[in-house]
């Protein structure tokens, strides 16, 4: 119990002091995870919507894979990306191993199936409602996708938050592809792992609390914006 008490004290001290190293770690965590989520949405929204709307051979398999990959183990993804980006690997010439870019790539791979699979379900449900009207208007594929994604924006906001939660919380992938390099690729989760391995349990837990606070803030912001807009458009 002692540790827990000290953990809260440490968390408070960290947040109050705004120590430069600490801010660097927080900043990198947000940069990596938000970038990864952005990429995941750019790919996942249209991908999920396309699987929902178009009948093509192997559609069932794609759907199954998307659902399955929602549970990709981060450490496995990290390992695969590590091997791909290693200098001895196929993409070695890019020199991306142990950089934040590698971490973004790994997290994007983790988050994209979540975004795509959930988008697929949401768009499928919405298409059941809008299908007749959009077909009656003879809307083309881009217009249809655009209409559905825009009208599903509140549900999709939740999907984005789910993706963000997955990214900001994982340690397996970023540890392997990033290397937890001080002042370069150290993020909150890898810092927590490091402090734990040094036996600084209270500090580790304190960082964990800070991580939760940050995740809470992001979620709260989105929820407030969502509610305000939803009230305007009346998601009946």
């Amino acid at each position: 119990m002692d540790t827990f008490f000290h953990a809260f004290a440490e968390a408070g001290a960290l947040l109050a002091s705004l120590d430069a190293d600490f801010l660097e770690i927080v900043g990198l965590s947000l940069r990596v995870s938000l970038s990864a989520v952005a990429i995941a949405c750019l790919i996942g929204f249209p991908l999920g919507a396309a699987v929902a709307l178009y009948k093509f051979p192997g559609r069932g398999v794609v759907s199954l894979l998307l659902n399955t990959f929602m549970g990709l183990p981060p450490v496995v993804v990290g390992l695969i990306v590590f091997l791909m980006l290693s200098r001895s690997g196929p993409l070695g010439v890019l020199g991306l191993l142990f950089t934040p870019t590698a971490m973004i790539i790994a997290q994007a791979i983790l988050v994209t199936p979540i975004v795509a699979a959930l988008t697929r379900q949401i768009v499928e449900d919405l298409w059941r409602e809008y299908g007749d009207h959009l077909r009656s208007l003879n809307a083309g594929p881009i217009d249809t996708l655009g209409t559905l994604i825009y009208d599903a924006r509140f549900s999709l906001a939740t999907v984005v938050l789910a993706g963000f939660g997955r990214a900001i919380a994982e340690v397996g992938a970023v540890m392997i592809v990033g290397g937890n390099i001080d002042h370069a690729t150290r993020v909150m989760t890898t810092a927590i792992a490091l402090e734990t391995s040094k036996g600084n349990l209270a500090t580790a837990l304190g960082l964990g609390i800070v991580l939760l606070v940050i995740a809470l803030s992001v979620n709260a912001t989105v929820q407030i914006v969502n509610n305000a807009s939803a009230r305007k458009a009346a998601l009946a």
Binding site: E129, Y130, D132, H133, R135, S136, L137, N138, A139, D143, T147, D151, K232, A233, A234, L235, A236
Partner: protein, 242 residues
């Protein structure tokens, strides 16, 4: 509102529609021309909805043909048509947002959109609800919005699938007068209903369906005064038909 190349008359030849093992429409043969308000009349389950959706292109026939004049691609033809459903599909936007969406899909230049949307709203008596979320409007208001949406596409043919089935008499009256407005502007009306009174009020021609068969195609006055078939007779007398 007739296009330089009109898509009417519409010829329906030996139209059959099956779902699984069940045949739902049997050999429908009819030609529908411009200028006359056509009401598809019949009891529930007669196949009225199916017929409309087949004509509009939302369903593919099992066999038979649906031939529009100057038959081009499906997309060319459907641009001259609009459809209003029994339960209107309201996008998660404001009333005017719904109409603006249609205008955008139809590639109307951006500068013109607002003006045309507002004009359509005014016509439907919905100007005061322009910024109301469409899904919060009453059933009658939503149906009027659906008609305003159809209005801006300047359709040559307007399909309506029992548009007032769930509305009260006052709302029904308003919708009917909007439909009359389309007719006055030159749009061909093809409307399904099971409501005798509505058919009497609006029809020029009656297409009478029963159990997937076309039993009668007659001018409205003749149909109501002197129905030819026993089913039509029973129906016009208000008897239940299964």
């Amino acid at each position: 509102m007739s296009a330089p190349q009109s898509i009417l008359p519409l010829e329906i030849r030996r139209l059959v529609f099956e779902s699984g093992d069940t045949r739902l429409l049997h050999d429908i043969d009819v030609t529908l021309s411009a200028g006359r308000r056509t009401i598809i009349l019949g009891p529930n389950g007669a196949g009225k909805s199916l017929l409309l959706r087949l004509c509009h292109g939302l369903l593919k026939p099992t066999s038979g043909e649906i031939i529009w004049r100057g038959a081009g691609t499906r997309s060319r033809v459907i641009r001259h048509q609009a459809m209003v459903f029994q339960r209107p599909v309201m996008l998660r936007r404001t009333a005017i947002g719904n109409i603006l969406h249609t205008l955008r899909i139809r590639d109307v230049p951006r500068r013109e959109r607002r003006e045309r949307a507002e004009a359509a709203l005014a016509l439907a008596g919905l100007s005061h609800l322009a910024n109301r979320p469409a899904r919060l409007m009453s059933g009658g208001e939503q149906q009027r919005l659906a008609l305003a949406r159809a209005w801006v596409t300047e359709p040559e043919v307007l399909f309506l699938d029992e548009p007032t089935a769930s509305l009260d008499p006052a709302a029904t009256r308003t919708v009917e007068s909007l439909v009359e407005g389309f007719h006055a502007a030159g749009t061909k009306i093809i409307m399904a209903t099971h409501d005798l009174g509505q058919a009497r009020r609006l029809a020029d021609d009656i297409v009478f369906l029963h159990k997937g068969r076309l039993l009668e195609f007659t001018p409205a006055s003749e149909f109501f005064e002197n129905p030819q078939t026993p089913e039509a007779r029973a129906f016009t007398q208000g008897e239940l038909l299964w």
